[in-house]
């Protein structure tokens, strides 16, 4: 009896009666997947359909069906050949896919020109914990669940984190926002933040300007800027008069060229040794660190690129810069350091073990800001290079500007000034919840909220994926101290790290993409990109890389990957860097299923050919005339 049922099951599993509905279901399901991808994005479609366990089960069922279809035809006849080969090909391809999915690696490696890297960022998410003294981390993978999860889901993980941390919850889609930390004190301490509503026939937006994190904002045709004035009552625009008076402007240069107050430090670092040099006291002096001698050539507080050279330009925004000369005895090179653009460099990766930076008090709190802006608009802009976009954007000729002045001595209101083509058009004081009906295209400005001591804090709230977004919202986990109360838990979005101390020791918790180390490093020697003439469409782009342990550099380009130690590196994309260099992005891939898939492909193709040929023979045998 049982045997009979088993036999029936066996034949059913290999029957076409099963194959047709299962294939129909597959077609339907993946069709839905493509619609989800179109409405939302590829990531969501993957999570909902292709990475779903039920979908895996469906594929397994098809695999078994194909297998049993071949087995139930036993004993095989000669005319089964095409059929058998086809099905063998399918089994191999599916098997290879299974191996890839479960044991393969697929991630991204990003290398900047002149640098090297061996870290590949994978798709999968992990929570890792380590103590400050121990560099090895305990790491657990978290599947990208689609639903909220409680502590019980993470019991094994928490067992592993014992003594360190505890994961108490999971949020599938989180809205991560920077919000103002509620501060009890009414101190007029910076940073200052003003929340504005900008309304016109075309737009209606609410946007915050923060003196520390975001003090400029391009909104349609106008640039909004938050500026500090020492005293609002004195009306900062009075400086306007001095624009025409060149004498005064040059007088100002002598004042501002000298860093007004506070520190102006050149920071040097080679390996473990660090030195700091007070720039004000040490003009034209030389400092020795490691094998290098560094000499200060010029100190500027309003640096701008004029006629392809860096000059002190009092009409420009505050932009402290330092020109230094570095020598190691054999070679001497020039380097420019900007306090505002610490990543900027002109030494093209030379003397890379020497770290240089310039910190100036002028950047942190520049009391002269108002004055320098007052003369700023409309002046030199044509010849400034894009390397310093920060100073270029501030001096667009003919640009419309809305300036918002705040002052610690007049803390309850701001002064709004409208500027057009370097001339002030109108102004008005605004307190909280007051509205300014501007004469510009019916634009309406409302100061919704002003806050001092406006420090930011990350807030995580649940959300749902919305349509047509390029990316899914980040997921988040709720993490707390091992011995802490649940009320002290914190939601961590992807990419977040937090630390806390237990018994005088510091611990670090990280949540985000899994990062693995390759058994070799990839150095990007150079990157080249050729556009189609007269367009910005790249015709081809390629990376010249050197793999550690190899002597000859190799070129990786579209359709020409690099194979090394079982890994394959593909040119995926590139990113232009602010300093004119490129970062190359490689897709890194380790695929144990590849041989099976290729073999399966060949076998399948062979089978289909045989099948097509043999069918026609059989049809003729059946006496059919076309």
């Amino acid at each position: 009896m049982l045997k009979k049922i088993m036999k029936k099951m066996f034949y059913f599993m290999g029957s076409i009666k099963l194959a047709v509905p299962v294939l129909l279901i597959l077609a339907l399901v993946v069709a839905i997947g493509t619609v989800i991808e179109s409405r939302y994005n590829a990531e969501y479609a993957k999570l909902l359909i292709y990475k779903n366990e039920l979908f895996g089960a469906l594929l397994c069922l098809i695999w078994l069906n194909v297998l049993f279809a071949a087995l139930t035809r036993w004993p095989w006849k000669r005319y089964h050949l095409g059929f058998l080969i086809t099905h063998l090909g399918l089994l191999l391809i599916f098997g290879g896919g299974f191996l890839t999915n479960n044991y393969g690696i697929d991630g991204m490696l990003r290398v900047v020109e002149g640098q090297s890297s061996k870290y590949v960022v994978l798709q999968s998410l992990v929570v890792s914990a380590r103590s400050g003294t121990d560099s090895t981390a305990i790491e657990f993978e978290i599947p990208r669940y689609l639903f909220e999860k409680g502590e019980s889901t993470f019991s094994t993980m928490n067992e592993g984190f014992k003594g360190l941390a505890v994961v108490r919850g999971y949020m599938p889609f989180a809205d991560v926002k920077e919000v103002l930390k509620a501060s009890a004190s009414q101190e007029t301490r910076e940073p200052f933040e003003v929340q504005l509503r900008i309304k016109s026939a075309m737009f209606n937006v609410e946007q915050g300007l923060n003196s520390q994190t975001q003090n400029e904002l391009q909104m349609g045709p106008a640039l909004f800027r938050l500026l500090k004035a020492s005293d609002l009552g004195r009306k900062p625009n009075s400086v306007e008069a001095s624009v025409k008076d060149t004498g005064k402007a040059s007088a100002k240069r002598t004042i501002t060229a000298e860093p007004a107050s506070g520190h102006a430090l050149l920071n040097l670092k080679v390996g473990a040794s660090e030195k700091h040099l007070d720039v004000k006291k040490a003009k034209d002096s030389t400092i020795t660190i490691g094998n290098y001698k560094v000499k200060i050539k010029a100190v500027m507080s309003h640096a701008a690129v004029v006629n392809n050279g860096l000059r002190e330009s009092p009409e420009s925004k505050v932009n402290p810069a330092l020109v230094v000369e570095i020598t190691d005895g054999k070679e001497t090179i020039k380097e420019v350091l900007f306090a505002k653009f610490p990543k900027f460099s002109v030494r093209k990766g030379k003397f890379s073990d020497l770290e240089l930076s310039y910190s100036s008090a002028e950047v942190e709190s520049s009391n002269d800001e108002v004055a320098s802006h007052g003369t700023g608009a409309g002046a030199n802009s044509e010849s400034q290079s894009s390397a310093m976009e920060g100073s270029v954007s501030s001096s667009k000729p003919n640009g419309n500007e809305v300036r918002i002045y705040y002052s610690p001595t007049d803390s309850k209101r701001v002064l709004i000034q409208l500027w057009k083509a370097g001339k002030k058009a109108a102004e008005k004081y605004l307190a909280e919840n007051e509205t300014y009906q501007t004469p510009w295209m019916g634009m309406e400005l409302t100061a919704l909220k002003m806050s001092w001591n406006a420090e930011k804090e990350i807030q995580v709230t649940p959300t749902t994926p919305s349509e047509k977004m390029d990316q899914l919202p980040s997921s988040a986990v709720k993490v707390g101290r091992y011995d802490g109360a649940p009320s002290e838990d914190v939601w961590m979005p992807e990419g977040a790290e937090r630390s806390f101390g237990i018994d005088g020791k510091e611990y670090f918790i990280y949540y985000g993409r899994k990062i693995i180390e390759l058994p070799f490093a990839v150095e990007l020697k150079s990157f080249s990109k050729i556009d189609y003439p007269g367009t910005r469409t790249p015709k081809e782009f390629e990376s010249h890389v050197q793999v550690s342990g190899q002597f000859v550099p190799v070129t990786v380009s579209m359709n020409e990957p690099l194979h090394f130690k079982g890994y394959t590196l593909y040119q995926a994309s590139y990113e232009p860097m602010p300093d004119g260099k490129f970062a190359s992005v490689f897709s890194v891939n380790y695929d144990p299923g590849r041989p099976f898939k290729y073999a399966g492909g060949i076998v399948l193709a062979l089978g289909i050919i045989l099948l097509t040929l043999s069918k026609s023979r059989r049809m003729k045998e059946m006496g059919f005339r076309l």
Partner: protein, 548 residues
Amino acid sequence: MKYLLSLLLLCSGLAARADFIFDQFIAKAQSLPYEELRGLPLLNNGRIKPLESLAKETSIYLTGSYQFKGLHPIQLLLGLMISDDGENLQLIEVRSPELRKQLGLPTPESRRHYSLKELMSANLESLASALMEKQKVNKRSLTEVENKTIETYEQTWMFQQARNGALLLGAMEPAQAATDPAQTPQSSAVVDEFKLLMQALSTKDSVEYQKHAAELKQKLNAQNWPEPVRAQLSNIDRELFYQQYKPFRWACWIFFLFAFLMVFPKSNEWVFKTVPKTISATLLFIPLIFLALGFYIRVSITGFAPVTNMYGTMIWVALGVGFFGWIFYLIYRNGVFLALTYFGAFCLLLITEQMPLVISPDMDPIVAVLRSNFWLTIHVLTITISYAAFSIAMLLGNTMIIRDLLKRNNVEWIKTYGHFCYRTIQLGVFLLSIGIILGGVWADYSWGRFWGWDPKETWALIADLGFLILLHARLVGWVDLYRLLLLAPLSYLLVIMAWYGVNFILATGLHSYGFSSGGAQIVTVFVSVQLLLIFGSFFTRMLRAKKV
């Protein structure tokens, strides 16, 4: 009352003035000579092309037509440059009716063309620039009308470029075009020559015109073109030939002619009996020669198998359909089958001819990832040629359905053509499966994964499964030949989805190079009619069976 009257008068006066300006412009432009300028080599959109091509592309983009009011596209371009009243010319086509309404453009409803002035006073610029900001943040979030708004704004931009000469001069000066395409180039030998030419045109001095046209051509040929495109100078004559003699249009109508001739049993029989096989076969091959010629020219100009956009694949499928039909005719001497396939090829070519804005025929450069001739050729050509086989199966099915609805079917017919259908489906499944595997290998080779459930691959698989299921169902006897013929067009809808739908409707995924929009209404009508036919045939057959 008096006020109203004067207002009315003013309005009609304005309208009449606009018409007058327009007529004057057309008359002036129509008198412009252009024959000598057709082959001027210009650098535009990353390749060197003749002025004829550039002008055609500009004309279709601005006005929606290759021959706006009977003007040759070059006449349109030159006319715009010498016209003093350009901003009042009503020739920018606003293609979206919703946008016309939204901008509050002057009626009547049927009007599609507006002047730069009208569009600018309708506040198009502020609307579009806000949308472009939105586009920068998230490209996919724009609605169709919003995309059309940006397109219309870009049309006005292009119009201004064409009018102030920046379009042509920029295409003549490669060095300056490379640095800033928006700037009108400064003086140079070529630019000066062109200015002299324009002067001759506006003073109607034909001797001077001839002289400067010849000199300009010579100077452009000697121009210091950038290295990667310099070799394309030798393609100019070929492309000009292609633009002037339109081999695809010839093929299209010859297909139609032969289809028409062969579809009648009598004429078919007559050909069969009187014309020797070799001669009829040779004659029937003529449209394929035209197709192959056009195809060859496109390959030689672009340097790549021309299947990188919808236009290319449709031509290729038409070639496949026609070729399969011809081969089958040689083997089976079946005129109806030939007529059917030729009719199919005709339809495909007609669609490409009629919808240049949706199915763009330009030969502009392809994205970096496609630049692998080997893979492009064997993967895309195999996949799309399978569509040709499926198209034939679909045509056979539909013929059966129509005959069925007309009560003209008999068992013999269904048996013969049912087997034809089975064979073509087999051929299609064979080609598509191989093509999918090849695509997997290419994807593995260039992206690092064999299969990633990308919409294009997924839909190719679904289409394959759709026909594979039919084959299997036929194998076990679930469907007879009648049902096979009935269901082939149904499965073909999956091919349409894979071919058109992924690129034009879903418009997402890694195969993003062929994406476009438009044509949705036509495809919707096709799909609905197809479904009606299938179900109509199914139910009438059921009813008839009941009666008996």
